[in-house]
């Protein structure tokens, strides 16, 4: 069994980044309708967020300290797949309530975690797990060239 522990550890230490423009304190009063819809600033901030890296994950907690089992599972899957930490950014929705609700409107997806690859929404934990199991995730990540190059992998360890 090949253990990519080196890669997985480096991957988990990828610091989660705060949303580029933290859209918090509003000075203007908003009507309930306006509050429910995605504000232009939040949309712009999320647009920017999904463009940060080829692989972007919106999760609860950080890659090193996930705060939810599904976020943790997603991080593990990406680590096992060998995603290059240099091509990956994670955003912690627990740090930013606007992001937490905004991303659900933005993706039209009700739950966190949410994975984006090259600005395309791929899915949540359930989908990633099944893609991981049927090989389609490996295929996608290879096609998008976001995996750690073979030469950089630590030597295979036999069990």
């Amino acid at each position: 069994m090949i253990l990519r522990t080196g890669i997985q550890a480096a991957f988990r230490q990828t610091a989660a980044r705060p949303l580029a423009t933290k859209v918090l304190a509003r000075s203007t009063r908003l009507t309930p309708l306006q509050i429910r819809l995605l504000s232009t600033e939040t949309k712009a901030a999320i647009d920017k967020a999904v463009s940060t890296s080829p692989v972007v994950l919106f999760m609860k907690g950080t890659p090193d300290t996930p705060q939810c089992g599904y976020s943790r599972a997603t991080i593990q899957i990406l680590g096992v797949q060998g995603v290059d930490p240099a091509k990956f950014t994670a955003f912690n929705v627990l740090e930013d309530e606007e992001l937490r609700s905004g991303i659900k409107e933005y993706s039209d997806w009700p739950t966190i975690p949410q994975l984006y690859v090259e600005k395309d929404f791929v899915g949540g934990c359930d989908i990633l797990l099944s893609m991981h199991q049927d090989g389609s995730l490996a295929k996608l990540l290879e096609e998008k060239n976001v995996l750690v190059p073979a030469e950089d992998m630590p030597p295979a360890k036999e069990k």
């Binding site: 599904y70 039209d108 997806w109 009700p110 739950t111 929404f121 791929v122 899915g123 949540g124 359930d126 989908i127 099944s130 893609m131």
Partner: protein, 80 residues
């Protein structure tokens, strides 16, 4: 055709999915310890044929729309 071991909320979800998607196989289970805040749903229906998994999930999300918003989470497994 809802099994009789479902609680009220589970049954409501079961019926909603049954009516909307006419599944050949459907399982609904409260996995929040009875709190009604998280459900595991497994659904097989011909309506999913030809659709990528993500579209299948979005279809279910549409059917359960408002409910999902009030839950903490959902575990979803779909099959065509």
């Amino acid at each position: 055709e809802a099994p009789d071991f479902l609680d009220e909320k589970e049954k409501a979800i079961f019926d909603r999915l049954s009516d909307a998607l006419e599944p050949t196989a459907l399982e609904v289970q409260d996995i929040s310890g009875g709190c009604g805040s998280m459900y595991a749903v497994s659904i097989t229906t011909e309506r999913f044929q030809g659709l990528p998994v993500i579209k299948q999930h979005r279809l279910v999300n549409e059917v359960l729309g408002e409910d999902i918003k009030s839950w903490h989470g959902i575990q979803l497994r779909t099959k065509a």
